[in-house]
Subunit: 147 residues, 2 copies
DNA sequence: AGCGAGATTGACGTTTACGTTAAGGTAAGG
DNA sequence: CCTTACCTTAACGTAAACGTCAATCTCGCT
């Protein structure tokens, strides 16, 4: 944080600070800039990240966690600050939104199904584990703790 | 389907049939076999896929849609048919389950947040679109259809 | 026996998403 | 002024997940 920044309330970040905060490498952030996902201010050659850049990076990383490619992420984040534009553009945007929504809904269903199956596997594992630590407590036979 | 299969009720599939059904290429299925995710029966050199192979492929593709790597998918599907094994193994399995669950929960949250934002973008887009097709219906002024 | 559709195993190519040097520039503190 | 810590571009490297040939082989049918 520079002197003048601490004076007013306009916090900025260096590439390293953002990298640390979001647990990615600076290389990753530069790569995203290369791909047009970020466009931080420059002072000389140095990058200066403002709050909106931070938000955008968070969006990008969320897209990444969801499993979207850079190209798909680009399209999504571009939606956020699209100019109102003309009717054709808006209809295209609405189409894109429908596509993304379908993808996300599918992924959500996949995740729910997988979570349910994890529950089942865990239940069986706990059963097996109980059957190992306690000696064969089959058919409801009570097992008293060892004295 | 072969003669004897149609006679009894034990439907099997060729690689091409499965590929068509799941909309992947045969190459993809062979790759998954190479990676140990599938192990179809062989008759001579030809692969014969049974119901359990089909189920397994579905699991693998679901993992892929969720965004897991082949390695992660392998660990997950291996959980399903893990032998009860010893206590140490079971505890490791429970650990793995916890890890996967955390990942999946994070992804689910990301998806929910993204869906919410898509809703918001769509709402704005529809507003803008309405403002374009109807001529500037500002401040509640009624807009009559053109004669 | 011959044909065409689809199957097989290599083996090399491609794209994505960064990692990893190399070779320096810069700002703050002592 | 010197060090230390961090920043810069440029360029090459790489692991994952297949795609894309090439060169057979095999089934089912006529």
């Amino acid at each position: 944080m520079s002197e003048s920044e601490r004076a007013r309330g306009v916090r900025t970040w260096t590439i390293g600070e953002l990298a640390g905060e979001f647990e990615v490498t600076p290389r990753t952030i530069r790569f995203y800039e290369d791909q047009g996902l970020l466009a931080p201010q420059r002072i000389g050659t140095q990058r200066v990240f403002h709050e909106r850049d931070r938000v955008r990076l968070a969006l990008v990383l969320r897209g990444r966690r969801i499993g979207f490619s850079i190209e798909e992420i680009r399209r999504i984040v571009d939606m956020y600050d699209a100019e109102p534009g003309e009717a054709g553009q808006l209809r295209y945007l609405l189409d894109q939104i429908a596509v993304r929504r379908a993808q996300l809904t599918q992924r959500a269903a996949d995740i729910a199904a997988t979570l349910a199956e994890l529950d089942e596997v865990e239940r069986r594992a706990r059963e097996d584990l109980a059957g190992l630590t306690r000696p064969t407590p089959r058919r409801g036979r009570a097992t008293r703790p060892q004295p």
